[in-house]
Structure formats: C-alpha cells, structure tokens
C-alpha cells in the first residue's frame, strides 16, 4: 500500500511525456505557419540562409493602410459583398429553415440535399459557366454578380444551421403560445425566432466569413473590375511580394480568428448535432 501511491504519482508524471510531446508537435504544426506569416508581415529584409528576418519594420503596413491604397479599396469591396451576401442568404433561408424544421414537406431529405449541392459538387467548372452566363447578362465584374455567387455557396450553412436552430427550439413553447391565441406569425416572431437567434446568428457569421474568404468564384465572375482581399492577396503572393501578401492575410484573419474564439457561444451542441438531419 505504501509503494502504491508513489508509483501512481510517478505514472501520472510520466504520462505527461507522450501527452506533452503530442501537444507540442500539434502546437508547432498549427502555429509554425502562423508565426511564419506574422514574421513576413513585419519583415523589411529576409532572405536565405537567415533563419529570421534581418530587419523589422512597418513600411509595408504604411503602404497597405494608405487611404487610397488598393488594399483599402479591396477591403471595402470585400465587406460590402459579404454584408449583402448575408442579407440575401437570410432573406431566403429563414423561411426555408423554418419550413424544413417544422412543416411537413414532401421530399424533405432531397430538399436539404439540394442546398448542399453547391458545396457537394466541385465548383470550378460551375463558376466557369456562371461567368459565361453572367457575361451575356452584363453581371460579370459587378458586385451583384459576385454576391449572387457567394449567396448560393453560403446557402448550405444558412439553411442547414437555421433549420437545426429552429428544430432545437422546444415545440411545446410554440404550442403553448398558439393555445393562448397567438397566430402563427406572432408565435414565430415572439417565440421561435428569438429562441433560435443564436443559431441564426452563427449561420450568418458562417456566411459572412465564407463570402469574405471566397476566392474561386470571385476569380472567375469578378474579373476584371472586382478586387476583393483574397484576390489582392493571391496576386501579391504569386508576384513574390510576401510582405503585402502577409499583411493582407492578417487582415483576413482578424474576423475569422475572432469568430473562432466565440463560436461555441452561438453554436450549441444540441444545434450542432441536428445540422444536416
């Protein structure tokens, strides 16, 4: 008995060796590339064979944040497109999500699957043809054209998560409201929508980020006039201007990482478990 407790304590200490090693490797794999990006953002001079930048500074930041720079214009375009995309997605997916969660629908499974299709098919060939069609309609190179493409792409998030959020709302609360004489619209706006609001919010943030980060569709449909941040970053990175690319990337990361830190406040396990069912 006397030797049992130290052995167990020892075993617990030694259990930290594989655990710590695994977590350390994971941390390196995850933060290595991020650190690399951060270093490029503040590097004035960095070339082989130096492990770290030779000179640090913010002259590239001044170029990016100059009021009339390409980056600021792209940021404005990106945010405008993302907000319009969220509005368009919400307008069609709140009714659709409610119907999928609550009403008896013929071919419900097929309808759910239809919203997955834009993500369930490789999109490059579709975008090529969307661009072809939009060209004849005069929608190529316009904000409206890009918003339409992003909306269709984002629908799976907004419809599926909205439906899951409505589905997670306790039905008996709605029935109680209906029994007390509230109409369907009143019980929806008074009970169902407020209770499902965190899920609807989460779906909107997904759509916003999806639109903010979208590259392929914008690449084909946005040419030649629409330049969003991802396109700017792509051109800078391919052109070998790693500093500009890194700074643009960091601007794109701020909303994404910010959301990651709070996602579980919006997307509860009960909603998450219902997504796609």
């Amino acid at each position: 008995m006397t030797s049992f407790i130290p052995t167990r304590a020892l075993a617990q200490t030694f259990a930290w060796i594989p655990r710590g090693l695994a977590l350390g490797v994971l941390a390196f794999v995850i933060f290595g590339p991020l650190t690399n990006l951060g270093l490029w953002a503040v590097a004035e001079k960095w070339y082989f064979p130096h492990t770290l930048p030779l000179q640090y500074g913010f002259s590239f930041w001044e170029r990016v944040f100059a009021p009339r720079s390409n980056a600021m214009a792209s940021l404005a375009t990106s945010v405008t497109i993302a907000l319009l995309t969220v509005a368009a997605c919400l307008a069609v997916s709140v009714p659709a999500g409610y119907a999928l969660a609550r009403l008896r629908l013929p071919w419900r499974g097929a309808i759910l699957l239809a919203f997955l299709l834009p993500q369930a098919f490789p999109s490059v060939a579709v975008y090529i043809n969307v661009a072809h069609i939009f060209y004849t309609l005069g929608l190529n190179g316009t904000v409206a054209g890009v918003v339409l493409v992003h909306t269709v792409h984002g629908l799976v998030f907004s419809v599926w998560i909205t439906a899951a959020a409505f589905g997670a709302v306790d039905r008996s609360l709605e029935e109680a409201a209906r029994d007390m004489g509230a109409g369907p619209l009143r019980s929806f706006f008074g009970i169902t929508l407020p209770l499902a609001a965190p899920g609807v919010m989460a779906s909107s943030i997904f759509v916003f980020l999806e639109s903010l980060d979208e590259f392929t569709g914008t690449y084909f449909v946005g040419v030649p006039d629409i330049s969003t941040l991802p396109l700017l970053m792509f051109n800078a990175g391919m052109g070998g201007n790693f500093q500009i690319a890194a700074i643009t990337a960091l601007i794109l990361l701020v909303p994404s990482v910010g959301f990651m830190l709070v996602i579980e406040r919006f997307l509860k396990a009960d909603v998450l478990a219902k997504v796609g069912h």
Binding site: T35, F121, P122, S123, N129, D213, F220, G237
Partner: protein, 305 residues
C-alpha cells in the same frame, strides 16, 4: 367552397391534436405542405438558377463541339492531356481525407474520453485555430513555411534536427496534402467532437466499468454512433478539397497538378470551354462517386433504424 370542404378531411388526419385549436382561416385553406413548399421555394430557386442551370450547362458543353454538335472530342482530349493530373487529384484528395478522418477521430476521441483535464483543455484550445483560416491564407502561409528556405527548414536546421543539405522543399504534392489536412481536420474534428459530446455517456461508463480500454471504447462504442456525422464531415471536406483552386495553384502549380488548375488554364490561356468542361465532368464524377456512397450509407442507416 365545396372543393375546400373536400380538401379538408384529407389534411386533418395528418395534423396533430394541438392543431385542432382555432387557427387563422388562411392557414386552413392552404394545406400545411403547400406553406412549406412556398417558404422553401425562394431558396430553392436560387440554387436552381445560379447552380443547377450552370451545372447542367457545363455537363452538356463537355460533350459539344464548337459548332454545337454532339462529340466526345473534348473528353478524349481531356484524357489525353490530363489523365495523369486526374489520378494525381484523386490520390491527393483521398489521402488527405483519410488523414483527416484519423486525426479528427483522434482529437474528438481524446476530447471525449481524455482523463486529464488540463490536456483536454489545452487540446480544445489548440486544435481549432486553422478552422476559420481561409484556404487562400493557408496556401500563402504554407507556401512560405514549407519552401526549401522557409521557416520550417530554417528552424529544423537551427535546432540541429537536420543538416542544411537535407533541407528539401515540400512544395509539391506533399505541400498540398499538408495544407488540406491542416485546414480540414479542425472542421471535421469540430463536428465529430460535437456529436461525441451529445452521446449518451452511460454506455461509455458501462464499458469502462467492465474494464474496456479507451481505444476499444472509441473504436467499438463511440465511433459507430457518430459515423453519420463523420461521414458528412468527410464528404464535405472531400468535395471542398476537390474544388479548391488556390491551394494547388499557389503550392504546386507545375505538372502534375490538380485538375482545377488545368481548368483555369484552359479558360484563361485558350478560352477552351469544351476541355475545361470535360475536366469539370471528371471532377463531378469523382464527387458523384462519393455522393453515391453517402446515399447508400444513408439508406442503410435508415433501414437499421
């Protein structure tokens, strides 16, 4: 009016008892399912107009010549020029999906079954970082991180793990796989961990009381129950990886490369919609294969319930 009265009995038996309370007359005239269809219609119309129509167009134009007649020339040419790239694409996406599956089950499993609270908290904080990092940012990051003179090799040389001469660029198929796995694992792991968290713990506790090890509990009790979630997550990432153009374009632009890069090249350099659409058709076939697998799986699931 008579038609309305005739329509009512048909809808009544299907409605639940609570609906017997007086409701708005309009809700009675329009049957329940029609409301549903009306509410879903705008969203479905978006998908039909801006996705299904161009999709159909691309499938059709894959088999049309420049004169509009039916031909297999595009497909033949696509296979002649790019059959290596097609195999390359499929191999990369399958390998990445397999790695994502293993890693996400491992992460989700440790989060659910891990006994050390500190380690679980650390892992929970750690694994999600790449989740919302856009593909294009991940691609740019890896492009500078995995290069021959990138930070990874610099650090490995600096810490004495490898010799300077051993430093190799990973900017080929390996870089693409690394980027895909890096980016997609947290997504699938988040879904898997969520499903695992909402499992009924009693079977796990029972197995634990009977002396089953954690690996066995994970493999025989937890994973079978969350398999639908895992499958959906893997299919979504499979197709995502199949569609992402920025990663292969930035990390592995030279041949052999992924067919997304080839499609963009056919359009930008040659204006060749025929071959580009034929390549698109091949990518649909790959995604369709996975979709068929999912539907079969879903039907089997439904039958089991």
């Amino acid at each position: 009016m008579p038609t309305e009265a005739a329509g009512r009995p048909a809808t009544l038996p299907r409605s639940r008892g609570g609906d017997g309370a007086p409701a708005l007359p309009a809700a009675r005239i329009v049957p329940d399912w029609l409301w549903g269809v009306l509410l879903v219609m705008p969203a479905l119309a978006m998908v039909a107009l801006f996705f299904l129509y161009p999709l159909g167009l691309s499938a059709v134009s894959a088999f049309q010549g420049r004169d509009g007649g039916w031909t297999l020339a595009n497909v033949v040419k696509a296979f002649e020029l790019y059959s290596l790239d097609m195999a390359f694409t499929l191999a990369i996406v399958l390998l990445s999906s397999a790695l994502v599956a293993v890693l996400s089950v491992a992460i989700g499993g440790y989060l659910t079954l891990g006994e050390n609270r500190l380690a679980v908290t650390l892992l929970r904080w750690l694994y999600r970082w790449p989740l919302f990092i856009p593909f294009i940012v991940a691609a740019q990051m890896m492009r500078s991180f995995l290069a021959k003179n990138g930070l990874m090799n610099n650090l490995l040389i600096g810490s004495g793990v490898i010799e300077p001469l051993q430093a190799a660029s990973l900017l080929d198929w390996r870089g693409v796989v690394v980027t895909f796995v890096w980016k997609q694992t947290p997504f699938v792991a988040l879904m898997v961990a969520g499903a695992m968290a909402s499992l009924d713990r009693s079977t796990i506790e029972a197995a634990r009381d009977l002396g089953a090890g954690r690996l066995r509990i994970l493999g025989e009790i937890v994973v079978p129950q969350i398999r639908p979630t895992l499958t959906v997550g893997l299919i979504l990432s499979f197709v995502t990886m199949l569609s992402v153009m920025s990663v292969p374009m930035m990390i592995n632009p030279n041949s052999p490369t992924m067919i997304t890069v080839d499609m963009a090249y056919r359009i930008n350099a040659h204006g060749d919609y025929g071959v580009a659409n034929a390549l698109g058709f091949v990518s649909y076939a790959m995604a369709g294969l996975v979709g068929w697998f999912y539907l079969r799986h879903g039907v089997r699931q439904g039958g089991a319930r």
